[in-house]
């Protein structure tokens, strides 16, 4: 191997990217050759330097954050600080479910499950967390949803296939667009898929959307009640308070259904 080839191999070994025979062979060479061992030290140091740089970068970001217990800022403000270049995308990127408490009080059977679900409306919300995964399609669809052009949004989002890592986010948005269009069965299906996401915020919002659809479909079960309870107690869930309020309403509604 020439120097450049060794550099490439050492780089991979130092970053734990080398496996099996190739790794063993190279480690053996390093053990047996003091010159190579000396050279390899530089690569280990390079890795430490990168770790130190990453730590500095993270510290700088944290220093720009408000302290958790004192902040009154929205999660969007946190995103703005963490990743300003993506903030604009983040704003446009998501539609989420929020509670409209008052409306259900003034309808016929105010304690029917469907009517409780009616109390929820869709509004533009900022997205919790970073949004590196948000791209043009998601952004475009979000804009459509904000303009109530839900069919356009759905048609745009349907281009995102399951092999794409933005699939679950797209399903969440499809859920929102369908819910807006009163296509509750479709919304329920999309929310259910998005609730399988490994990203906490998408997963929890998907679960919440699914539960709202269960109410709308008059298909509420004990298991749904338990899931809502868990969401209402989950500190990671952005709409924890909404879930908690809904749970209280449903506890009352049970006496009437």
């Amino acid at each position: 191997m020439n120097t450049s080839e060794y550099d490439e191999k050492f780089m991979s070994l130092a970053n734990n990217e080398l496996f099996g025979d190739e790794k063993m062979q190279l480690e053996k060479e390093i053990q047996e050759n003091p010159a190579l061992a000396e050279e390899f030290k530089k690569h280990l140091l390079a890795q430490d330097l990168l770790e130190a740089f990453i730590a500095q970068d993270l510290k700088r970001k944290f220093n720009s954050f408000p302290l958790p217990e004192m902040k009154n800022e929205t999660s969007g403000a946190v995103i703005k600080k963490l990743n300003p270049s993506r903030y604009k995308l983040a704003i446009a990127a998501s539609v989420a479910l929020v509670l409209g408490v008052s409306s259900y009080l003034f309808v016929g059977n105010k304690y029917s499950y469907q009517n409780i679900a009616e109390g929820y409306s869709l509004e533009m919300q900022e997205v919790r967390g970073t949004n590196l995964e948000v791209d043009d399609i998601i952004e475009k669809a979000s804009i459509y949803i904000s303009k109530n052009e839900n069919a356009m949004a759905m048609s745009t989002l349907n281009k995102i296939t399951p092999d794409d890592d933005r699939y679950f986010k797209a399903q969440l948005l499809i859920g929102n667009a369908s819910y807006n269009s009163e296509l509750i069965a479709n919304a329920s299906k999309a929310y259910l898929i998005s609730s399988k996401s490994t990203q906490e915020n998408i997963k929890l919002e998907g679960q919440f959307g699914y539960l709202l659809c269960q109410l709308k479909l008059n298909a509420w079960t004990d298991s749904d009640q338990n899931n809502l309870k868990q969401l209402s107690e989950n500190d990671f869930f952005k709409y924890k308070d909404d879930a908690s309020l809904l749970l209280k309403q449903l506890t009352i509604a049970r006496f009437f259904n």
Binding site: D7, L45, L49, F53, A55, E69, L132
Partner: protein, 199 residues
């Protein structure tokens, strides 16, 4: 959804790197009551709010590194682990402060004794060295290499950096890495760290 599942999810997200890691760290940062607990621990042991903030930040940074380097085991909750890390950081800091005070009497005391190169680079003086080195390396190279270190795929790096392809990103990464090695070669301050690596 229970606590341990959330812990596993967050740890898995940090381990997988990329945008998931950033999201998980932000979630962890904002866990209700966590900073308050750490602040109580620090202020009950001679520190103030600013100390608590530093310890909290250091704690998350340490946790992030430990998870990425597979030094974290999924036992208990991530929050309790982070609290343990913060407690260790604060007691270590206090111990060091006491030793620095003693330094006036024992002039031969070397503060860096027993620390590995990464610890040295993470302390105040080391941070200046790291800043200076990466500013020589340049913003683009620093970013490419740190994205690589954070397990971004070559395609993701290409997307982040506006490069035409993953292959192109790979070439850039290698050139940047060689530049970093060149800077290490030319840095007398880092010679000391290289020696420590051999010990």
């Amino acid at each position: 959804m229970n606590g341990s599942l959330e812990t596993m999810d967050l740890a898995a997200d940090i381990r997988s790197g990329g945008s998931k890691r950033e999201q998980a760290l932000t979630s962890l940062y904002n866990v209700t009551g966590l900073f308050f607990k750490i602040k109580q621990m620090v202020t009950n042991h001679g520190g103030n709010e600013e100390d608590a903030r530093d310890v909290f930040h250091e704690g998350i940074i340490t946790l992030d590194r430990k998870i990425r380097q597979d030094e974290y085991e999924d036992r208990g909750t991530l929050e309790s682990y982070l609290f343990g890390v913060c407690r260790f950081i604060w007691s270590n800091q206090q111990r060091k402060n006491k030793r620095v005070e003693l330094k006036e009497d024992f002039t031969s005391y070397d503060q860096s004794t027993g620390e590995n190169p990464l610890d040295t680079m993470l302390n105040n003086e080391g941070q200046n060295l790291v800043s200076s080195l990466f500013s020589q390396l340049g913003e683009n190279c620093s970013k490419i290499l740190s994205l690589w270190k954070l397990s971004y795929s070559m395609n993701e790096i290409a997307e982040e950096m506006g490069l035409p392809s993953g292959d192109n990103a790979r070439k850039h990464k290698f050139r940047c890495y060689q530049k970093l090695l060149g800077l290490i070669d030319n840095s007398p301050e880092l010679a000391h760290n290289l020696k420590n690596l051999g010990q």
